[in-house]
Structure formats: C-alpha cells, structure tokens
Amino acid sequence: MKPIIKVENLSKSYRIGELEAGYATLREAVARKVAASLRRRMRRGEAGETLWALKDLDFTVQPGEVLGLIGHNGAGKSTLLKVLSRITVPTTGRTEVYGRIGTLLEVGTGFHPDLTGRENIYLNGAILGIRRAEIARKLDEIIAFAELEKFIDTPVKWYSTGMYLRLAFSVASNLDTEVLFMDEVLAVGDVGFQQKCLDKMHEIRQQGRTILFVSHSMAAVTRLCQRVIWLDHGRMVQDGPAHAVVNDYLGTAWKVTAERVWGEEEEAPGDHVVRLRRVRARERGGATAESLDIRHPVGIELTYDVLVEGEVLTPKVELLNEEGAALFSAHDVGERWRYRPRPVGRYVSTVWIPGNYLAEGNLRAHASIVSHTPATVLHAPAPNAVGFQVVDSQHKDSARGDYVGPIPGLVRPLLDWTTEFDAGDAAVPETVPDTTESLEVPT
C-alpha cells in the first residue's frame, strides 16, 4: 500500500552557537559574521560546530500504523515530528505526509488564556486547518469527552492543569485529522483520564488513522504501537516490531541483559559471607532467555559462593515489570536448606516461574541472598540483575486465546473456567471450526 508518511534522506542540523544564543542582537550578528569569516580563512571546514538533530533518516509509514518513537532526551524524536509537521525546515532531504496532521505536542498548544474553552476549540481547530463547519459538528463530542460541560464558557486561564490537558487532548483526538502526532501527553492527568486517553487512542487506531507516538513510557509504547523506531543522536538505531525494539532499547538503557556475570570476587555483590557470581534468566533446556514465549516456564538462576561456614542462607528473587511495579518476591522455603547451615562452596539455585503465568512485556529481576537468623541480613543484593522479555505470540493456547488486542493486568495466568448450563430440550450445537489465523510475531 502507498505510504501515508515518507521520509527521505532527512537530516537537520543546528549550529551550536545558534542553540546557545537562541536569538542574536545586530551587534552580535555582525561580530559573529566577522569572526566566522576570519575563522574560515584560518581553518577551513572545521567540524564540531554543527549538531545533527536528525541524520540520514529514511522510512515510510503505512496508513493506520501506530508508530512509536523512542530514544533518550535529545535523540531527535521531537525534532522529527517538528520537521514532519513543517514547523521547522530540514537541512537536507524531504518529508511528505499524505493527510492532515493533528498535533498534540504539548499541553494546550495554541490555547489563549483569555479565551473561553469553546472559543479555544474553534481557534485550535482553525490552527489544525479544519473547517469551521466540521468543528461545529464535533463541538459537543469534544466538550463531552473533555468533561468540561460546566466550564466551557469560562476563560481557560482559570482552568486547572488537568482541565487544560483534557480539553487539549479532546480537541486533537476528536477532530478527524488523518495523522496524529502525540508527544508524551499521557504522562499528565489523573489515572482515570489517562485510561480514557489510551482507550481513545485504540479507537483512533481502529478508525484507520495513523499515529506517531513519542513517549518515554515503554509500557505505553508497547501497548499502543505495533512498530517502533529507536533514535539516538538523530540517527535511526532500530526500526521494527515494538517488543523487539523496546527490548533492545531497554537492554542498553538499563544495562540489563538476560545474563550477568561478576568475574572478580571483589566486584561481585556480597559481603564476607556470600558473593553472587552469576545471575541469569534461563529456559528449561538451559539456554539463557533474552526473549521468552509466554507459555514457557522461566528460571532465574543464581550462582553464588559461600565463603564462611555455618550461616543459614536464603536466595531471593524479586520480579518487576517495566513500570517498576513489583510482581512478586520469592525466596527459597524448600526443606533442603531452610534450616541447614551451609558449607563453604559454590551453589546454583534456580527459582522456576511457570509458563502461562507472566504478562507480556519487559521484566527485570532483583536478586539477593539473605539470612534470617537471628535477624534479617541482606548479604548479597544485586538490584536490576537481569532483564528479559515475555512475548505473547498469539498461538491461541496462551491465556490470550483468540483475542488480539491489549490485555491489562500485571500477570496473565491461564486459569480454569467452569460453566453450568441447563439446556432443557434444546440441542447443544457443534463447536464452530476456528477460522482465525494463528499469527507468529517475529521476536
């Protein structure tokens, strides 16, 4: 299909001086011109004066795609949106968008504090290039979504931040632009409204509208986007399925991988009693698991050296999701070592998390060794020791079944259901053959 967004050979540079000064005075401009020409004469083509906010970007976006843009601050995500929406001009290359663009780059962009909510809706619509008739038709919907019926004729300067945000989101999302740019908006507002925004974005997606979504919340990105582009210093690092890109990004960002080894004993987490030497996430077969099928069990394996004899030690693992929420904390309560002082030596303990239990997403594990007698002592803490990704590839035999949309919840256990039914005389029909396709998502 013909792409709705085309980016060809796109680069954008800033002169660093320009960034620092922002704007110049005549005197400075003259002085700089003179200085620059002198410098040019002395050293030709000196590098390091320009900063590439975007460098050599080439990609296309299909209609209806929800594309996530991730990267550190200053990676060029916002600049890319600005170039696409023509706010600023590229240094080389070109971009084309085959549709109107709605932007939600910051809370209440283009709102005038002295105008009422209603007046601002019209103004905002006009800024997005939308006809007055169309805005009038959508007005009630916008006001209702923003939950501002009572205050719509009040100047927005008396609005709270939340009201302001709700109005801004409502305008941008309810006007039917073919393309929607969103930059970190869901980070604001109360939980209820955030959920409403997410639901709205799913709805927009179903309408076939194209969304470019910039966010630092990997949870939001993986939930909303099928595809993610990772930018670093203006360059594209990776472009691919959301889970794969996010996983690699988090791998570099957190510096956590599925295996962690401490070669030197002095550097290993621990004290004079015990030292952790290796932590890894593993599959049943023994392979280290960077990426794990949601149906398979995963083991968190702790390798540690006990240095002093006579301590009762308990290995402990805490699992967290990418939002930092703790899923559970588990320590070994098995009989073998529960009350038994440990001899000196190397141990390998593994805790097994069953298949069809975790939710999809990126998980981290804190590992540690503790002792409880006489008081609790944390001997070898290794926070963020390992990270791995759980992928639900829609094989139909996971808890997901035939449903392909987002599923809430910290965990996703496959549970038993019972159904009681009194048929009376009616015949129970045969099961309908399954016609939906089983989908393999590349990881």
Binding site: P63, G64, V83, S85, R86, G93, E96, G110, L115, I127
Partner: protein, 306 residues
C-alpha cells in the same frame, strides 16, 4: 479503570474507503483514500513556491480566527471595551487642536478638528499596526514552535484587528464631517483606495519587522522612537504645503504623506495631489514585495530562533 475492550477488536488490514472527506462522522475502519499530492511536504531549501500561496488560501479561516482572537483579547477585561479605539485619537485630536490651534498652524482652510483628525486617523492605525505586528511573531512564539500554519497569517491578523479599530474610530470623522458640513464630492470615492494603501503599507512594514524581530530583538527598541520621528516628518500636525515647493518632494518620500494629504482632500473636496498619492502607492508596493521575500527567507527558521 481497566481498559479491556469487548471481544476481538482491531482492524489493521482495512480496505480504502471512497475518499468522502466531509462524510458522516461515525467512520469505522474506513480511512480516506490517500491524496495524490502530499498534504504536508517539507524539504530543504527556502525558495518561495506557489504552494506557499495556496497554503495561505487553505488557512484563510485561521486568519479570521486569529484576527477575531486579537480583537477579543485586546478588549477583554476592559471596562470601556472598543471605546478605546475612539478615545485615543480623539484625545490626541483635542490636544493638537488646542495647542497648535493657539499657535496658529495653517490648516488649508479646514476646521482644526477635521484637519488633525484626518492626520491622526491613518497614523494611529499605521503606528499601532506596525508596532503590534512587529511583535506578533515573538508573542505567538509558543504557537510557532508547536504547530505549522503559514506564519504570515500572524502579522496579517494583527493588522486585521487594527482595521476594526480604524472602522470604529472613523465614526468620529463621519460625525465631524457632518457637523462641519463638509461637502460630499466625488473625492470621497478615493477613501477605500486610501484605506487599502494604508493597510498594505502597514502590512508590508509590519511583516518585515516581525520577521526581523524574531532574529534581532533590537527592533523592539528601535521602533518606538523611529515611529516618533516618523510622526513629525509626516504632515499630521501641519499641512504639506507648509514646506517650500523646492523641498516638498522630501516630504513625499514618506509614503504616509500621500495618504494623510489624500484623506484631507477626500473629506474637504479640494483637488488631490495625484503625484504624491502615486508615489505613496509605488513605495507601498515596493515595501510589500520586498517584505514578502524577506519574510519568506527568514520564515523557515522561525521555529529554531524563537
């Protein structure tokens, strides 16, 4: 607060609908057929293209809204509202009429009040429009750095808002003309031409200064006293023929001279000084063309500079 949807949703592989743009609102999984030409294209280079002019047309409703916003905001939370548009030139007129009237400045036989008001009316509009539009891009910086639309609409809207003030202030001139029994001659037909000239002059200068202010904030400091000097070299508080014929052309270098004197001729019915009006028109058009190009050249970097 969970966000589950009822049943399998999703419609990733949709068919293209028939691109009915203004169609019924409840559209589900029926996107537009993509247009042949990009709606939003951006590329390196800064040449003025025909498409830019098409953009201005496409955003004409925004011009209306920005103008309307400027008017709304200007008189919000003021007790007197739009009356301020009248009070300012009116008070100036009274002051000048009293001071210069007592000094015996010649007025070509026109009543003092009308003579001064004919000068003050276009001048108040001009200086206000130029001042406001020169600052307009900077004060709308948050808009410029966040959303795209033809930037030229911002200074233009400021002038549009000034035009409403001009219309209100003109009421006084009409009343004065009736009061003093000024003759209704064919000369009045020139009024719209003079208004258009003033608007274009303000637009040209305002646009150019607005673009310049984005880059050099010095403009903000230079403009007030430049306008003050300009006020005195424009025959507002004196008639143009106060100067010797030999030096009068100097006065005509100032495009505002033709406009002010033209307005006096239109109201009083005396003969127009066509060369001065023609000169005004020429200068105005030149300024306008130059500023369109200057504006376009700087426009591309506004968002990076603001």
């Amino acid at each position: 607060m969970s966000g589950e949807q009822a049943g399998p949703t999703e419609a990733l592989n949709y068919e293209s609908g028939d691109g009915d743009d203004g169609g019924a609102p409840p559209r589900r999984a029926a996107p537009h057929v993509l247009p042949l030409a990009p709606v939003v294209a951006n590329e390196a280079g800064a040449a003025l293209r025909l498409r830019d002019l098409g953009d201005v047309w496409a955003f004409r409703e925004l011009l209306y809204f920005l103008t309307w916003r400027d008017i709304r905001v200007r008189y919000k939370q003021t007790a007197m509202g739009a009356a301020w548009a009248i009070i300012q030139p009116l008070v100036m007129m009274l002051v000048f009429a009293v001071v210069f009237g007592m000094m015996g400045v010649p007025t070509d036989g026109m009543p003092y009040f009308i003579f001064f008001y004919c000068g003050l009316l276009p001048w108040t509009f001009f200086s206000g429009a130029v001042t406001n539009s020169s600052l307009s891009l900077v004060t709308n910086g948050n808009l410029i750095s966040k959303v795209y639309f033809p930037r030229v609409l911002i200074p233009t809207a400021t002038i549009g808002a000034g035009l409403v003030d001009l219309a209100v202030a003109s009421v006084i001139l009409v009343l004065l003309a009736f009061y003093y029994g000024m003759p209704a001659t064919r000369n009045l037909l020139m009024l719209p031409v003079l208004v258009v000239l003033t608007v274009l002059m303000s637009l040209g200068l305002g646009m150019w200064l607005a673009a310049l202010t984005v880059k050099y904030r010095d403009v903000r400091h230079v403009l007030p006293f430049t306008l003050q000097v300009w006020f005195f070299v424009t025959p507002i508080i004196y008639p143009a023929n106060l100067l010797d014929v030999k030096w009068r052309w100097l006065l005509y270098l100032n495009p505002m001279t033709g406009i002010v004197e033209g307005l006096r001729s239109a109201i009083s019915g005396r003969a127009f000084d066509w060369p001065s009006i023609a000169f005004s028109a020429t200068v105005t058009l030149a300024v306008l063309v130059i500023s369109i190009f200057a504006f376009n050249r700087i426009e591309k970097s506004f968002a990076d500079l603001i």
